[in-house]
Symmetry: C2
Subunit: 212 residues, 2 copies
């Protein structure tokens, strides 16, 4: 309910809060003030208070935040109390890297299958998931409860694939192909554009060289 009014900037910061609080939990920190959290995260204390006030606060004046409670509440806001079944289309290095990422599972994202067209990969097992032939995708999606599909195929194949995935009922797409997917608005797309990230780095490196 309250989620509808939250700005994109705040939402972009929430996973970072979640990560920091998780680190504190691992170190058995029970309580933290917004000032301490602010120093760790390099965000102003007032920004932190403002961000968390979007969700009704969580802090007590002069007492700070209860780390475990705040961590769990932010997790709920992020939808992490739910379990998500994830498939990975494209079982190359990147797809395998995602399938091997233990942290995702710990946060409720379970890789149930990978798909590829390469006979060398089909039938192999990556952690707990088997690589299946891509032409079984439709059947698999219709027979199983799949929440998210990660797309780790080459750019040329990504656009028609995404259209098919949406048609077969996928509601969440995690796209690693360097292209935009124009999908119906009921499909949520999160892009990871690695080349663009690298260009931002080169921009900042070349700007620094000029001004030094």
């Amino acid at each position: 309910m309250y989620k509808k009014e939250i700005s994109k900037a705040v939402i972009n910061r929430l996973p970072r809060y979640y990560r920091y609080l998780g680190d504190l939990l691992e170190k058995d920190v029970v309580r933290i003030s917004s000032k301490e959290l602010s120093e760790k995260m390099k965000v102003t204390a007032s920004q932190i208070r403002q961000d968390l006030n979007n969700f009704g606060g969580f802090g007590q004046q002069g007492y700070g935040y209860n780390v475990e409670y705040l961590h769990s509440e932010i997790g709920k806001i992020l939808g992490l109390e739910m379990k998500y079944n994830l498939i990975i289309v494209g079982a190359g290095n990147l797809g395998q890297a995602l399938a091997n990422y233990v942290d995702f599972e710990r946060r409720g994202f379970l890789v149930t299958a990978l798909f590829d067209i390469s006979p060398d990969l089909i039938g192999t097992k990556i952690r707990n998931a088997v690589v299946r032939p891509s032409d079984e995708l439709e059947e698999y999606i219709k027979a199983n409860n799949v929440d998210i599909a990660a797309i780790t195929v080459p750019k040329s194949r990504a656009v028609p694939l995404a259209v098919d995935l949406a048609k077969w009922g996928i509601k969440g797409i995690w796209n690693f192909a360097p292209t935009d997917l124009n999908l119906p608005k009921e499909v949520t797309v999160e892009n990871v554009h690695l080349a663009e990230s690298l260009m931002k780095l080169s921009y900042r490196l070349s700007t620094k060289n000029q001004t030094e």
Copy 2:
């Protein structure tokens, strides 16, 4: 020079302009109006004009943009006319995926070496780069011209590794470990936090479910 005043939001959009213009170039499009570009990119035409005016324009009234020229100029702004030597520390699936990414090379990012501690990986070749033992990192960096180091090692090893890389002279770090690196400000860090990206997706999926 002009680069110093450009806002972060504009810079974040530049790689996307660059990608779109590259796609248009591949399709032999010579000229495009800000209106057409705006429809393709789902950004308002006035936003596009405003963004590009930061760098002195490039368009001509009633004539549109010359695709090749604009692509090349944005490339220069992004520092892509330079060549960057990149090493990858961590030759697991993710490191290998990055090393195999042909697009990076096309844009001037050359992977010159990978590093790992695993005897199974050391000595193997990924595209044109050999996997070397991690304890040769310092020597390699000091003997070679390395512009960027990608960090694809587990979280626990990332922080001390980054400190060492900075000490040995690395000026650009592309960090894939799910942790912030607190480095001296002369080191430019670009983070790719995959788990955070996945959390943003789950946030939007769970919010949609609630409001439907």
